[in-house]
């Protein structure tokens, strides 16, 4: 509802869940759909593992391997410990964004609650890793380079850290919901002719948004994993 009630002809999964009598918000149902898709594809890809990958296993090895080498290149070898979280985040957001283009489904990331849940999870996760890595010395990440700068740096750092989940949430939400609103407006202006090219543009844009969320989480984790300076 955060986008102002765009017209939806039929949302299959939400109607199906509502028919069983459960009172679950729509974005949660769509997130369940994404989870089912991810689990099914994961099981299909890992069912028959072979040394020489082919078909689906090849694609997933390319995806996960590429992401892992990217994370390790940026964080270092410590990045392998947090890679599963980051990769899960990326695939979830990617499938969630692209689910918005499938007729009968809505994007779970077009709702601010899903994004806030993910962003707060990222916030807690990187602070957890910082505390686990550095113990009480993690406070040094907030204190700036010199001791006499502490009264200035501590509030600045605290605000900047608290703004991170906010900006993560709003960026993803605004992109996905804004894209949907633009598609609806273009459909009102000139149906089909103007929307088909925009679909391709938004597929690209939403893939990039999933990657941006993944990359920012990675940068935040890098900041808490490496030594304070």
């Amino acid at each position: 509802m955060a986008g102002g009630g765009l017209p939806h002809p039929l949302l299959i999964a939400e109607e199906g869940v509502r028919a069983t009598g459960l009172n679950v918000p729509g974005n949660v149902v769509e997130a369940w759909v994404v989870m089912v898709i991810m689990i099914v594809f994961g099981l299909l890809a890992t069912r028959k593992l072979t040394m020489v990958p082919g078909g689906m296993q090849n694609f997933f090895e390319f995806l996960v391997g590429g992401l892992e080498s990217f994370v390790v290149a940026n964080i270092g070898e410590k990045g392998r410990k947090v890679f599963s979280f980051l990769c899960g985040l990326f695939v979830f957001i990617l499938v969630g964004n692209l689910l918005g283009f499938v007729p009968g489904f809505d994007a779970p990331t077009a709702n601010i609650n899903t994004n806030a849940a993910m962003a707060i999870t990222v916030f807690l996760f990187y602070n957890f890793w910082g505390l686990k890595m550095w113990g009480p010395g993690y406070i040094k990440h907030f204190l700036g380079p010199f001791w006499w700068l502490v009264p200035l740096m501590l509030p600045v750092e605290l605000i900047s850290h608290l703004a991170r989940p906010l900006s993560l949430t709003l960026r993803l939400f605004g992109n996905v919901r804004g894209g949907e609103i633009i598609l609806v407006l273009l459909f009102i202006l000139a149906p089909v002719i103007s929307t088909i090219p925009m679909f391709f543009m938004f597929i690209l844009a939403k893939t990039i948004q999933a990657f941006v969320f993944f990359m920012l989480s990675m940068i935040y984790l890098k900041g808490s994993l490496e030594h304070a300076h």
């Binding site: 955060a2 102002g4 009630g5 900006s167 709003l170 939400f173 605004g174 992109n175």
Partner: protein, 106 residues
């Protein structure tokens, strides 16, 4: 000087009118909000586009001079673009709030 004065006066007039309109809750509110959101999004998009264009220009030049650094430049570029773009997205979110979830309109 006169232009600046006129701008300031117009802004003040718009602001006062806007507060009156919010209090009244008549069709003028819709007109004011439409103007405000359209202008706000236009300004946000214009300057965000300008800033992102500058960033991409610098990245292209850097890659042309030193193609081996393109990987690092791309990472930095996407990161910076994400931060820049979030400024326009804040504008969009505020516009959505103004249009669909306005706290001043019952």
């Amino acid at each position: 000087m006169r232009k600046a004065l006129m701008t300031a006066l117009n802004t003040a007039a718009l602001l006062t009118v806007a507060s009156v309109a919010f209090a009244a809750g008549d069709p003028a509110v819709v007109a004011t909000i439409s103007w405000a959101t359209a202008l706000a999004q236009a300004i946000a998009a214009a300057f965000c586009g300008l800033g992102m264009g500058l960033a991409i220009k610098a990245a292209c030049e850097g890659t042309a001079r030193n193609p081996e650094a393109s990987g690092k430049i791309t990472v930095t570029l996407i990161l910076g673009l994400a931060f820049l773009e979030s400024l326009a997205i804040y504008g969009l979110v505020i516009n959505l709030i103004l249009l669909f979830a306005n706290p001043y309109m019952g």
